[in-house]
């Protein structure tokens, strides 16, 4: 025995409306949809001159300020055609017809006259000229079932194409929330409505019967007829995806990155990674944070990383150098202008702290604050963004452990810092303790930097951070 379920039409939504009209009976009996609209005598592909309608206040001339369409574009009724201005009033002119734009009668900034043609539109005669009033919505339900035909007294705005889509999917336009201008129902609204449909709103037709699968213990032989019934007929819901690809010119920030990274490609990179135990530094920073706060400066970990890097660069100056175009000369830069990668709304920028070699940790922190606030406001000057000699990227504030940073020419090295994680480690006595571990990933120019140099620099940098007191010895 199979269970037969038919949703009766009368249980399907009953719209309350102030204006209820009943079609004459003959309409109900028809199995195909009917649409009524006023037709006018328009022949195939006729060009209609769409005149500029009255603006009000006795205005006769306006200036065309923006065209939303160009010749050859197809338009639907109510699409915006152009924006005109008259005496402090900006007016959006919308199309009265569906069709193709054949001619624009005015250029930008020209004066257009009320009552004179604005654009020529070629109308597809088979559609007829859809008037603005009296468009009656199509009866969505099919035949046998008795249904209420309800027609709203005021307009359900939708273009013929949208109405067709609704009709094909058995959707009542009155049930769709229109999100277009004046509540006009757009294609997207129909698609959204479809996506939200549940089984309860299916039109009753044989195909839509949902039959639950027979339990396995059923011993009735699987006759062909039963087989047919066994297979649950899935609700055929149209899979719709109304997303569209979007192409736009790249932003200035991306252009800059293209330039920089293409140049970086020429550099043979090698990577060197390590982990640093920041347990002591974390504690130190906690103690120093309030001191810096009193002086009006926010103290993060970066000033320590930057200063330690500078101390390391004093011992390994080749990491603060630059190779010329022809790879003939290496310039050892005297200043340690350490760049700090910053993520802003628009994209990546790398301002640098100048002359870290003569700055205290506090001074570096203060300078970082300044650069950060300018950076987020988008007001960094060229001076702050040029002249870098070495870069650190603290991607760990967002996340990650090991990375492969790309060197920013004309520099020869870069370090990327992962997030600080609390991990178990063994101490000297073989005991497990909680350590604050951060991973560092260095990249260097293998044309002039060798692995040993990078490793030694990294070890020195690491030792300063793992034992901050040792920094005191070498601080200048």
């Amino acid at each position: 025995v199979c269970i037969h379920r038919v949703r009766s039409c009368s249980s399907i939504r009953f719209i309350k409306s102030k204006y209820v009209c009943v079609f004459d009976k003959s309409a109900l009996k028809f199995s195909h949809q009917q649409r009524l609209f006023r037709t006018s005598a328009v022949s195939c592909g006729q060009i209609v001159q769409f005149k500029l309608s009255d603006i009000g206040e006795g205005i006769t001339e306006v200036t065309v300020k923006e065209w939303y369409i160009k010749e050859g574009d197809s338009v639907s009724q109510f699409d915006s055609i152009c924006e005109v201005q008259s005496d402090k009033a900006s007016v959006t002119i919308t199309s009265r017809y569906d069709g193709i734009i054949r001619k624009l009668h005015y250029n930008l900034d020209e004066i257009a006259y009320v009552g004179k043609p604005l654009v020529d539109i070629e109308i597809d005669a088979s559609k007829g000229v859809a008037p603005e009033e009296d468009v009656v919505e199509t009866p969505p339900m099919s035949h046998e079932e008795h249904t209420h035909q309800e027609i709203k007294g005021h307009k359900t705005l939708a273009t013929p194409a949208v109405r067709r889509l609704a009709m094909e999917n058995n959707i009542k336009l009155s049930e769709v929330v229109g999100t277009g201008k004046d509540n006009r129902i757009l294609k997207e609204d129909i698609l959204n409505y479809l996506a939200k449909q549940t089984g309860a709103i299916l039109p009753p037709s044989p195909k839509a019967e949902i039959i639950p699968p027979l339990p396995k213990s059923e011993t009735v032989p699987a006759a062909p007829k039963d087989k047919e019934r066994k297979i649950p007929v899935s609700v055929s819901r149209p899979i719709v995806f109304s997303g569209k690809d979007k192409t736009e010119p790249i932003s200035g920030f991306h252009k800059a990155m293209v330039k920089t990274m293409s140049a970086a490609l020429k550099i043979p990179h090698f990577g060197y990674c390590d982990e640093v135990d920041l347990t002591q530094l974390v504690q130190l920073r906690e103690e120093l944070k309030p001191v810096a706060q009193i002086r009006g400066v926010k103290l993060s970990f970066m000033p320590f990383f930057i200063k330690a890097a500078s101390l390391g660069l004093l011992q390994y100056p080749i990491l603060n150098a630059s190779l010329d175009e022809s790879c003939q000369n290496v310039t050892y830069k005297a200043s340690h202008n350490i760049g700090v990668a910053m993520d802003t709304e628009q994209g990546l920028i790398v301002p640098n702290v100048k002359n870290v070699q003569v700055c205290s940790v506090f001074e570096i922190a203060s300078e970082l604050n300044r650069l950060q606030s300018l950076g987020s406001a988008g007001q960094l000057g060229t001076n702050d963004l040029t002249g870098g000699t070495f870069t650190l990227s603290n991607i760990g504030t967002i996340g990650g452990t090991y990375t492969k940073p790309v060197i920013l020419p004309p520099e020869v090295a870069i370090g990327a810092l992962g997030k600080i994680q609390v991990l178990p480690r063994f101490n000297g006595k073989g005991e497990v303790f909680k350590a604050q571990i951060m991973n560092v990933s260095w990249s260097a120019d293998h044309r002039i930097i060798d692995g040993a140099t990078m490793a030694r620099f990294s070890n020195l940098w690491k030792s300063y951070l793992e034992n901050p007191a040792s920094m005191l010895l070498d601080l200048k």
Binding site: K65, E66, K88, S90, K255, K259, G378, L380
Partner: protein, 372 residues
Amino acid sequence: MVLQSSLKNCRQLSCILRTPKAGFRSTSGGLIIQSVSNDVYQNLAVEDWIHDHMNLENRQVLFLWRNSPAVVIGRHQNPWQECNFGLLRQKNIKLARRRSGGGTVYHDLGNINLTFFTTRKKYERMENLKLVVKALKALRPELDVCVTDRYDILLDRQYKISGTAAKLGRTTAYHHCTLLCNADKLVLSSVLKSPYKGLKSNATPSVPASVKNLFEEDPSLTCEVLLDAIAEEYATQHHIDHRITLINPADETVLPGIGNKTKELQTWEWVYGKTPKFSVSTCFNMAYKDSVLDVKVDMDVKHGRIEACNVHLPEHWLPPALCSELVKSLTGSKFCPKETTTLATALLRVCPQDDELHSRWNLLCENMIMLM
């Protein structure tokens, strides 16, 4: 802005501002609403929302709003011609482009905005302004206020206290105007003065006018007093309930889709990208070490992006290859200091490393950025 709830009566907005799908309710005639937000973008978005979604067949709406400091340019204006960007940034004043036409205005909490919504057929600016004048005169009969044929309201026949703009759509229209109660005139005049030279465009220019605050005429005229008076007059003239309904422009349940409208008004494409085509043709002097150099810059800007660019420098002051790289990079980029800075600094990475070159380059770029 602190609203005294004893003065206003909050009402269930959802039954009134629902989309016409449900048909209109019994509040025929009109509605007075006031925004609880001082964010210019949110308030402009409310105007858009009402214009797009509300059925105004048998009613009119008056929308009252105030903004924290902002410069609002008209739909077809050029912000570079209208205001001082440096000062805007410095004072943290927002820049917005509205959808109605007209000129540039400065808003702060001492300025009231009134928007009159009607169907397109009932669009009538003079009537609205006369209503405002009537309300003012009812408050203070001795006030010398009148409406000009340019749709301004003048105080003492000299000082502009209100400017007007309007937007007409297919079926609805709105007319909005400002009213100066107690705005900061110093900031107003300094921020609305453009320092940019050599701009040529067909954008709608603003007509500067001397302004005065109503507060200066009579200190008892505060924004609240004026808002109430105008609402009262509106209610009387349209025979509607004089209670003001508060509206929260961040409430998606009452105003579905308002979030998107607010976002759109803040995009670069809208605020700057909608600037009508213009060209910049200017010379400036750069002092470098012991000499002064003349630099000539020509740019064509369309949709806020540099379509064409030319920089004339004394020969060989900078490597020509670098200059042409700069011009090439700038072409197609936004006419924007941030982008130009980023591009210029990126270019410096791929040229010979020379301090002299760097400082010259930075000088040129800083000056170019000042044009934006």
